[in-house]
Symmetry: C2
Subunit: 377 residues, 2 copies
Amino acid sequence: MKSYLFAPGPTPVPERVLLRMAMPIIHHREEAFEAVFEEVREGLKYLFQTDQEVLVLTSSGTGAMEAAISNLFSEGDEVLVVRAGKFGQRWGELAETFGLSPVYLDFPWGEPADPAKIAERLEAQPAIRGVLIQASETSTGVMHPIREIAKFTSKRDDVVLIVDGITAVGVFEMPMDEWGIDVVITGSQKALMLPPGLAFISLSEKAWKMAESSSLPRYYFDLKKHLVSSKKNQTPYTPAISLVLGLQEVLGMIRAEGLEAVFARHHRIAEATREAVKAMGLALFAKSSPSDALTAVVMPETVDGLALKKAFLDRYGITVAGGQGQIKGKIIRIAHLGYFDPIDMFQVIAALEMSLYKMGYPVELGSGLGILAEKLA
Amino acid sequence: MKSYLFAPGPTPVPERVLLRMAMPIIHHREEAFEAVFEEVREGLKYLFQTDQEVLVLTSSGTGAMEAAISNLFSEGDEVLVVRAGKFGQRWGELAETFGLSPVYLDFPWGEPADPAKIAERLEAQPAIRGVLIQASETSTGVMHPIREIAKFTSKRDDVVLIVDGITAVGVFEMPMDEWGIDVVITGSQKALMLPPGLAFISLSEKAWKMAESSSLPRYYFDLKKHLVSSKKNQTPYTPAISLVLGLQEVLGMIRAEGLEAVFARHHRIAEATREAVKAMGLALFAKSSPSDALTAVVMPETVDGLALKKAFLDRYGITVAGGQGQIKGKIIRIAHLGYFDPIDMFQVIAALEMSLYKMGYPVELGSGLGILAEKLA
């Protein structure tokens, strides 16, 4: 049986990228690598929509999240942690691990953060030095209102806005410099269409200034050291060379398509999927502000999400993601980010219709597919 | 021009491994990945010669070195740092970054550590809790006497022996359990014949016990979390999946050849190279105890190592490594570790003879090659 990957990371890797990475390995301390890295640096700035350096770490996205914490803060620093899903929780765990004083602001899973409440809290607790949030909460499929939050954090010299953009960068508009975001993070295995193994982080001038007074220990993730190396087209420690070669390739693809077109493609696919899901009588887990990175679908009461996920894999070779943490078994998550064309969505919507039908859920076959065709025609 | 990689990491990746990694990406939270990981865990135990779990980190080897420090010690802990090259220095930088109290024991670059001096220091300063050392100092091509050191560290309940085995594991005999080493580290881009991006670390029971009382902050490199996941054939954060698939392949190759045969092949190649180099009237940088991972060759006074390195690349497409730090330009380093067969060494020895000849050094053409043939026939 063929295999199809529709999980929100890792996402499918384009064939030409797989082949590029299968070329013989080159040495990273040589000119050939440095020429690649120079191009990669430019491509990453384009992707992040920033003039700042975008640093390349050999780690998962979590490594870059840790780097943001350990490079910007000191023990006891107050940070506002916005939690509305599993990855919001991860910010909290990181803050606690490094001895910060996290102030939690919780929103129900499936809902976006309310910027007014964040502003209120910053006002009420002026010692807070940072806001930690996701742009797209991968566990719930909800997009948080980063632009609205940046409007007030960018006015404060002593507060940084740190955005986990792991399923946002390259999916929807989030211009780092224009909006005044201080830290943006992403990973290689999402919209960047690469295997996992690289993480990316960019800091605003305000963030770099804050880093100067940070006293937490860091070595492998010492961003200052990465910055110095990066400007010389290098990394301080041996990078995942084959992934960097693949990165050059995907950044070229993104530039050729154009960022606006990339965003529009994601939106078109996501919007059509959402309509198709609703046409099948299913609800979106996102009560509002759904992310174009993925669609989280609420399981009907009679359908076990784990069983559905298994049916997708066993019957159709399709991997989707299930729910994590408190919503395990209650949702399935269908990815749109990365190497997807509109036509790909017919596979996953067909699998959804057929699986539900087989499991006894009263779905009219073709109901979702018809709407999908209508939206994507 | 064709390209040849003879640097001590990254090392050449076998074609079948490159192709395995070019297969479509799979999801790491699925059974197919877990089956691979189960096999990988067994292969790593075989390679490390241990019954302990060998943890797989997505990072360079430096990440695993940091993990050893941040998981085993607490602020102020005294550790003995053996420095006889660039990577010994890195242990010191890490210890200082994490607030330990490093006690330095320096040996000249190019010489192995003296176990008696290490034993003396441990006796004189009973508060020392760990010995940090390289098994093979990649910057000098010298092998340190790990077995001798383990003889006395293994008798102490309150001292751990932490070995950077980045260019040792899979190169020469260093049975972790039998010798009583507490921590062994390696990276993917050395004897493991993979691209960089994975690091490996294994802890003895004594080391795991010490980790229980460590109070340094760690999250991405939290080894306890990695241990729990690993036993379930998982990693706590998204691993570099394509490299893990390649890892399954190379571990299969190592097992098929047999560890003893792998060690013998490295030794044979290294020994022949050393003899060939000496036959050309050149000196080894290792005054004694040369590592079978690489041969560091001292440049004659009239030859600039940087120019020679450039000649290798420009004339023959061969990448070797130069000297680092205090010996920059004074040596070149030729790798033997990983995917090398005896016959490969004729390329690099030929390039060495011809380059020196062209640069006016009085070398008799064929002098090194002849000895190489004699040793490898």
